[in-house]
Symmetry: C2
Subunit: 147 residues, 2 copies
DNA sequence: AACTTCAGTTGTACTATACAACTAGGTCGC
DNA sequence: GCGACCTAGTTGTATAGTACAACTGAAGTT
């Protein structure tokens, strides 16, 4: 194998390992908020008000899946739906105060876990690694995952 | 935020994105072999004969989960169990010829997907990215995932 | 007004998972 | 050598997340 091939193999293997581990533990680390819920809340916070359909498209989830996730988040009081006055089919989703708090809390704990794991990395390596990951994920579809 | 903090944030975010995407698509890419089954088969091929308990410990899965996965893989004819003559509680798991073939096939298709995704990366970047991922995953536990 | 399209919900089914209870085989202390 | 414990694996039950298909209600289109 050429160095390229070896590197591609390694990337494949390590990404797979990571995905498996993340999947195995995501639910256990933050019982309050599954990985999907966390991601959805984060997305809502960043973008400040999205429709369920947008979320489904963005995360390649079925609209029924998003509908149930959204229902659960609403039941938990973390988001609220506001009917779009212009189009009564549409519900625009917004974080509630409680949602913002939980999100901040989970973000802190996740951030702490990552920071600890990356504690002994040099700044230069962190920056490069981050850039590689962004570049990798920016490629739409394929890989262990698609979009 | 310092550059380190920004980098850590980015790594966290991108790893999360990756994990979510992988989860979403793992089942769809290779209907023959889920991500977990693929990983288990790969592990058996590499290590040539493990007990279900070993697999459970290694992947932090419950033994019941592994038991069912193993049962499915056996039903599909991809692995076989051999009773340990020394200890009749133990079943040593081995790939069958069919298992080896399917594994090789899925490995090829996964590899092709990764290769395509990484096609326009310079060799130097591939090697560095691979090294970073290995380093990241080598840290046991914590992060988005544990072991 | 009749179609068609779109947003979202609900019914149903499947997979991966965990935990707990159980079975069957081994080991050890005395 | 037998009872108390330990270990490998299975099975019952429950849950989460997901998809697909059928449906409801609201908006556009002609």
């Amino acid at each position: 194998m050429t160095p390229e091939e070896i590197a591609v193999e390694t990337i494949q293997r390590e990404m797979t390992v990571f995905a498996r581990r993340a999947r195995a533990s995501a639910g256990r680390m933050h019982p309050e908020l599954s990985l999907v819920s966390y991601t959805l809340l984060g997305h809502l916070e960043e973008s400040g008000g999205r429709r369920a359909t947008d979320l489904a498209a963005h995360y390649a989830l079925d609209k029924s899946t998003v509908s149930r996730q959204v229902a659960a988040l609403e039941r938990a009081g973390l988001i609220e739906r506001r009917l779009d006055p212009e189009d009564h089919r549409v519900q625009v989703l917004h974080l509630t105060e409680a949602g913002r708090e939980i999100l901040a809390q989970v973000t802190r704990s996740r951030r702490a876990a990552f920071r600890e794991r990356l504690a002994d990395w040099a700044e230069e390596d962190l920056v490069r690694f981050a850039a590689y990951l962004e570049r990798y994920n920016a490629g739409t579809s394929a890989g262990t995952g698609e979009d």
